[in-house]
Each structure stands twice: as C-alpha cells, then as structure tokens.
Amino acid sequence: MSKYIVTHDVNSCIGCRACEVHCKEKNDSPPGANYCKIITVGPYERQGIPRFDFVYMSCFHCEKPWCVDACPTGAMQRREKDGIVFVDQGSCVGCKACIAACPWGVPQWNADTGKVSKCDLCKDRIDEGLRPACVSKCVTGCLEFTTPSEASESRRQHFAEQMLRVQG
C-alpha cells in the first residue's frame, strides 16, 4: 500500500461519474481507458427498497504490486518516497504483462500509443500539495484522499457517532 489511500463513501456517492471525467480530462486517457471507474450495481432490492450501489475502482497502489513484478522493462514502477505505482511511458513496450498480472484489471491499454497507462494518483498534483483530480472535484465529497491510518481513525469516529445516534 502506498502512503495514500482514496476512500469512497458509498452512501454519499450518487453515481454521477464526474470522477471519471475529471480523471480523463486531467490525464488525457484515450477512449476505452479509464484509470478510475464507477461501477454501477443495480437497481436491485435491499430490505424491500430498490437500491443502486456504486463502487469506485481505481488502483490500490499495492505494497508489493504484481504489475511491477511482471513488467519486464521496468516501465511499471513504484515511487520510492510514497509508494505510488506508475508507468514510465518511455520504457513501456506494450507487452501487457502488467494487465495480465493485476487481479483487479487496473492497468489500462492505450491503443493510440501502444502502451499501458494507469492511475498515478495525479502525482504531479500531489507533489504540489494538491489532491488527485477525481477527489478534488467530486460532486458530493464522497471520495477522500487520505492515509490508511487517518481513514481508519475517521471511520471509527463515524461508526461511534452513528452507534450513539442509533442508541439515542
């Protein structure tokens, strides 16, 4: 796991897919390549009420990324200082080994360049002290750019507040 994590509060997500467009606009990803994607599940029924659910799928920036291990040219890399996994476009030969290796289908194929590209958490923005595009412009604030320990802290806090509210 990189130093960072993007959390997704499904209850506040409206499935508007703005994050996908913020990402595409920022990273100029070609048609068919989605560095992040909202997967819509539904409508289906839960406890007698129809529901839509939305799952935010991007890169997990693994601590031991299979894609990096699979890459024969060293194009797929893990940034030393914060663990962000990214593709060095100059070294990518388009062998697609990373695509086969990643269990979550994260690396994306760019048919225009014949290379792989993927989410790099907008590392240029992070280096400027900013947040990734998808998070920065999220319509409802359901995406959060944080660290695993902060995410855990805030989730525990939220759970405790909710529990107390339920108990009245």
Partner: protein, 701 residues
C-alpha cells in the same frame, strides 16, 4: 505562468460557478469555484475543456449554399453574415410586418439581450425553450403565490424530508443542489421518491412509490386528503396566509389514500405512513414542485398540488423549507443595470397574455409561435433566430416541426455547437464556447445574493464571437444600436455596475461579489405583501385561472392506458449528459457504451415479447420514425412504460461521435408538438406511445 480565471460554466443550463487555471492560452484545469463549491464540479463541467478544443463545431459564420439540411455551406466574414441576416430581416419585416420575426433561446440569465433585440426591431415574439421544461411549474407557482417558479427556493441541507415526484435531483443535477441533498441525507434527512422507474435518486430514498405513468396527480391528491385527515398541516400559517383553504378540503374529499393507492398501483398503508412521517418532520419538509415537468396533460395540476403540499407544511421562510431568494434590494444594495427595450404594443402571435391571459407573455410559448409560420394566423411568422437552442432536439415530433419551419423564410442559429437546427438553418452565427467568451454580469438571488461574472479564459480557437458582440452588430445594422450601449465587454460591465457602486476589480478575487455577509431571512410572521396574487394571499382558488375560465382544482382524470403492444415513452438523462449538447463531446461521448442510448423495459413485458437483457429492439413511433436500441431489462420500471435517455439519435454528419448513434426520443413523440396544456402552457412529452420488436443490431454496433 498560471493564472486563475473565475467564470460560470456553460455545459448545461445551471451555470455553476467555476475557476479555470490558464497557462499561456490554454485552460489546464477547471474546477467548481472553491469559494462556493469547494472545487466540486460535475462530469459535464470538466468536459468543458474538451468542448472548446473540439474541432467538430462551426469554425466561422456560414451561409447555406444547398438545400436546407444538405450541409453545403459558404464560409463568410462576420460582416457579410450580419449584413445578409439584417437585409433579410428588413425585407421580411417590410413584407410581413415587424412582428413577423421570432427570437428564441434556451432561457437563462443572459436572455434579456436576445429579448431586447427582438423588441427593439419591433417584434413582441421573444420566446424560449421553457414550453418543454418548466412552464407548468412556473404557472402553477404563479397561480398560487403570484410568483414565478424561481420566486421561491429550497433549503435542502436543513430539510428533514424531501419529497420528489419524478425529480431525479441527484442525476439531473445542479452541483450545489445535489451536494446539499447529500448533506441532508448525511444529517439524517429522508427522501420519499415517486417515479415510474428506479433512478439513482430513488435509490437513496427511504420510501419509494413506483407509480403507474400519468397518475402522479392521483397520488398527490391522495396525499393531500390524508394530510388533511391526519391534520398534517400548519393551521396557523394557513389561517394567516391562505385563501380558500376550505375549497381544498371539500375538493380532495373523494380522493382518499385508498383510492389513490388503487389508481397508482401503490400501497395505501405506505401513503398513510408517509403522511404520519411528514407530520413529525414539518415544517422542514420540501415537496419539489417539478423541474422539467412538461410531461403529462395534467402536469400543471400535479405541480399545483405539490406547491399546495408545501403550503400545507407551512414551510415558507423557515430553515429546511422554502425561502424567498433575496435580491440586492433586500441587502440594501442597488441592482445591476441590464439592457432592455419595452415590448412593442402588438399582441403576441402565440396568444400569451391575450387569448391566454393567464400565460406569461414574458417568454410566451415557443410551440405556439410555430403554427403561424404555416397558417399566417393571427399573423405570419417568417424569420426565426435561435440562441444556443436546438429546436429539433428539444421539441417533439421533428416531422411536424419541419412542416412549420419550412414556411419560414429565414432561419438563423447562434450556437457554439452543431445541432440539428443549426445544421438545417440558413445562416450560422457561431458563438464562442463559454471558456472563450465573457458575458454580461448576472445577479444570483438566494439567502446570500451575489453578482457573478463569466469571463473569457482563452482566445476563441475559431472565428467565433460572444453573443453580446453579435447582438451589438445585428442591432447596429438594424438601426437600433442604442439599446446596446457599449463597444467592449468592459464598457458593458462598467455600464451595468454603475448604479451599484462596485467595480469590475471587485470580482477578480473570487469571481463574484457577495451582497451580504449573513443569510437574509424574512420574518415568517410578516410575509404580507410578499405574495403577488390579486388578493395578496396564497390563492387555492386562483383568480388568474378562474378569470381565464380555467379551474383551479381540477378533478382527476385517469391517463390513457396504452393500447396492447404499445408502451408509454418516458425520458430522462444520465448525470454526465446535458442532452444533445453533450452527446458529441470528445470525453462525454465515451461514457455511454457505443454512445447510444438504451431502452428500459419491464422484465415481465420483455419476457412476453421474447426480449432478453442486451437484445436489440426496434423502437417505433406512431409515425415513420424508429430505430434499434439495446434493451435494459429490469423489474424496476412500470410495465406500461419504456424509458430512454434524451439527446441521442442526432443526424448531423459532421458530428462524428454522435452521428446516427442511438434513437431520438423527441422524434419518437409523434403528434405531440400540438398537444399541450391550456392551464400550464407546456407540451406533454410523455403522452406518446411506441412499439417494440426484436431486431438485428445496427451495422456499426
């Protein structure tokens, strides 16, 4: 060197506040104004950069060479185009009268300049697209409060209960509104949703009524009946501000919850439980009165009943309810000056304000200005100028529409994009996209009213111009330039700001000027004079309607049941599309598989027709039009309805991403251009029926 340019979005009609980062002459980052929206922006907004970089739009003024719609154009200079248009206008006005010119638009905060031009050249016939959108809601509001649709706004964030009749508020979204509703949910607020299908909004509801299409009025009546029965209303508020409450009581008597439940196909106990709930939550309960409620023949009365339910809640000028959007005057400030010209003393060709005294003559009704093109009655309309408004995509039944337009001698389109109307017209006066143009300053009313600015972020990529400049050129050539007293946008802004004491520098830091530090609320006990009805009260029995021979409380009539093998066509949109203006966008066109709409079909219906999820289905109108769509089979749509997204099936060959992709719902609406509601004024876009049959996929799918 990066610079921030504050502006207003132009990707849909909402016009959210923006901040653009500009390097050199390129926009490198676009976000919601951080001072208002914290950076939040919707999918369409982010694709604004792709819009201005897209070359699939008009590159300069064009005059048609071939037949209408043939797509043969002569690229001309601005001077030639303006001279051509104004010579034609003068000739048409000489032959048919000054009033034979019609100007239309999508509405919005810049329309006074279009209207000013129309009036200045002697025609009262300014209109906009609202007959396919908010007219019913507007007139319903006027009949009760004496105020237009925007005369009241909603404090969603603090509401305890939001009731949505078909209003897909989290999908047909305004950024500030959607995030306020989500914040309401976070704070424990509830949504009750009513729709003919499950949407992402109803997917967040605590209670959902899947109603038979066209029966919203029955459900609203059943709710009001139950509210009166359970005394779920604010008696003090009603006594003080409402006229003819007793007429409402006697009117709704027969419409019990049990009756409504049967009519709508829902559960009566759920209606009763809903009312019990809102009684707990009042006055912080909001009934959304409808946005695009040009749906059914009785949509005006649906909206009226939704407004009435707000009134029963006594939710006016309270937190979590409705409030009067405050103006500069409420903050002790002077308003912006705006271009204006009095309406010529000639009756409108659509009869609004005369034949139909209860229908606003402000923008009138677009669909009623079309028949005079053909019939010459009450007088001929022979020239049409449209501003960023594709009539073919928004009005129903293109065949009928063309039958009218073909009698028009001049069709002019001022649009930044191609659209079917622009492709069909005689002269294209291409407007710059919103990132390439400035506009006049606007007032945004609210609890904290402000003045806001749209400013040009980058140079126009092509030979396009902002509308204020195009109108100035047209007006000068028509001899009415004095109504547009400026040469540059800075002149224009300074002239607007003169009475206010502010200067344009005041907008640079945040993109707006806030007119108050604290939200302005009126005293709820002193609202006398705020309701602009003839009686000064909220009128359950509207004098405006009754004087026009229209009933205020209309008895319920059940909707027409679809004939066997036909289905009522309902439409909407996903969160990433603003109809036809998005479907050819380089990024937004990537989001829908194949860039084609699909069609929702009820599971049991699909099974009976032998249609499986993902199968191709020929969707056919009652006329000639139809085409193949992929079926989305689900139990979460009423069996009488099929649903599709609006804005597809475009037939403009130079729009390579959208050309002939999918099927246009508007073109499937055979016969609906002449079906409209005398009470509310709007057309009824959900009153058409289609047939379905399995088919082969299109060749390019």
């Amino acid at each position: 060197m990066k610079k921030s340019v504050y502006s207003l979005c132009g990707m849909c009609a909402v016009r959210c506040p923006l901040r653009a980062e500009v390097e050199g002459d390129e926009v490198t980052w676009l976000e919601g104004n951080p001072h208002i929206l914290g950076g939040a922006l919707c999918a369409k907004g982010s694709a604004g950069i792709a819009r201005y970089r897209d070359d699939e739009r008009p590159h300069g003024p064009l005059i048609r060479e071939g037949e209408r719609g043939e797509g043969r154009w002569r690229q001309v200079s601005w001077d030639e185009a303006i001279t051509y248009v104004t010579d034609k206008l003068k000739a048409i006005q000489k032959k048919y009268g000054k009033e034979s010119v019609m100007v239309t638009s999508r509405g919005g905060p810049f329309q006074n300049q279009y209207k000013t031009f129309c009036h200045a050249i002697g025609s009262p016939n300014y209109t906009n697209h609202d007959c396919t959108c908010g007219r019913n809601t507007h007139h319903a509001s006027k009949s009760l409060y004496g105020l237009g649709r925007k005369g009241l706004a909603y404090d969603y964030k603090n509401a305890r209960h939001l009731v949505l009749f078909g209003r897909n508020i989290l999908t047909s979204l305004k950024v500030a509104e959607a995030s306020a509703v989500v914040e309401m949910l976070r704070r424990g607020g509830k949504i009750t949703a009513v729709d003919v299908r499950v949407t992402p909004t109803s997917g967040k509801a605590n209670r959902f009524f899947l109603v038979r299409p066209g029966t919203d009025y029955a459900l609203a009546l059943g709710m009001v009946n139950e509210m009166l029965k359970q005394k779920a209303y604010d008696q003090k508020f009603i006594k003080k501000y409402v006229k003819d409450f007793s007429k409402l009581q006697s009117f709704v008597k027969p419409y019990t919850a049990a009756w409504a439940a049967k009519e709508c196909g829902v559960d009566a106990a759920t209606i009763k439980a809903f009312v019990t709930d809102i009684k707990q939550d009042m006055p912080r309960v909001i009934f959304h009165p409808g946005w695009n409620l040009a749906r059914y023949k009785d949509s005006f009365y649906v909206s009226r009943m939704l407004h009435i339910m707000n009134i029963l809640m006594g939710n006016i000028e309270v937190e979590g309810g409705q409030f009067f959007p405050k103006s500069p005057a409420d903050c002790g400030k002077k308003g912006l000056r705006n271009v204006d010209c009095p309406k010529p003393d000639i009756e409108r060709a659509d009869g609004c304000g005369s034949t139909y005294p209860h229908l606003d003559k402000g923008p009138g009704l677009e669909h009623l200005l079309l028949p005079p093109m053909k019939t010459g009655k009450p007088y001929p309309i022979k020239a049409l100028i449209s501003n960023r408004h594709d009539l073919m995509a928004s009005l129903p039944d293109k065949e009928q529409l063309l039958d009218y337009l073909n009698h028009c001698e001049l069709l002019v389109s001022m649009d930044a994009l191609w659209g079917e109307f622009t492709w069909y017209c005689d002269v294209v006066l291409p407007e710059s996209t919103f990132l390439e143009r400035s506009n006049q300053l606007v007032t945004q009313k609210g609890l904290k009213p402000r003045f806001a600015i749209r400013q040009q972020a980058v140079s126009p990529r092509y030979d396009t111009k902002p509308s204020w400049e195009i109108y100035k050129m047209l007006a000068d050539k028509m001899g009415v330039g004095e109504y547009f007293p400026y040469e540059t946008i800075e002149d224009y802004w300074n002239w607007q700001l003169e009475p206010t004491g502010y200067s344009i520098e005041d907008f640079q830091e945040k993109g707006f000027v806030e007119l108050t530090d604290e939200p302005v609320w009126y005293d709820r006990d002193k609202l006398d004079g705020k309701f602009k009805t003839p009686s000064g009260k909220i009128e359950i029995i509207s004098k405006m309607l009754e004087d026009a021979g229209i009933e205020s409380l209309k008895p319920y009539e059940p909707p027409q049941a679809p004939e066997k093998g036909t289905f009522r066509l309902v439409y909407g949109r996903p969160a990433w599309l603003a109809h036809n203006q998005s479907t050819n966008n380089p990024i937004l066109s990537q989001l829908t598989p194949g860039n084609r709409n699909n069609i929702w079909i009820n599971r049991e219906v699909a099974e009976s027709l032998g249609i499986r999820n993902g199968d191709w289905v020929e969707v056919k109108s009652a006329g000639e039009y139809g085409g193949p769509l992929q079926a989305f089979v689900t139990e979460y749509i009423h069996p009488e309805a099929v649903y599709t997204d609006h804005g597809f099936g475009k037939e403009v060959p130079v729009q390579s991403r959208a050309y002939n992709k999918g099927v246009s719902d508007a073109k499937l609406m055979t016969g609906l251009l002449d079906v409209w509601d005398r009470a509310g004024g709007a057309v009824a876009l959900c009153e058409s029926f289609v047939t379905l049959s399995p088919c082969e996929p299109p060749a390019d799918a």
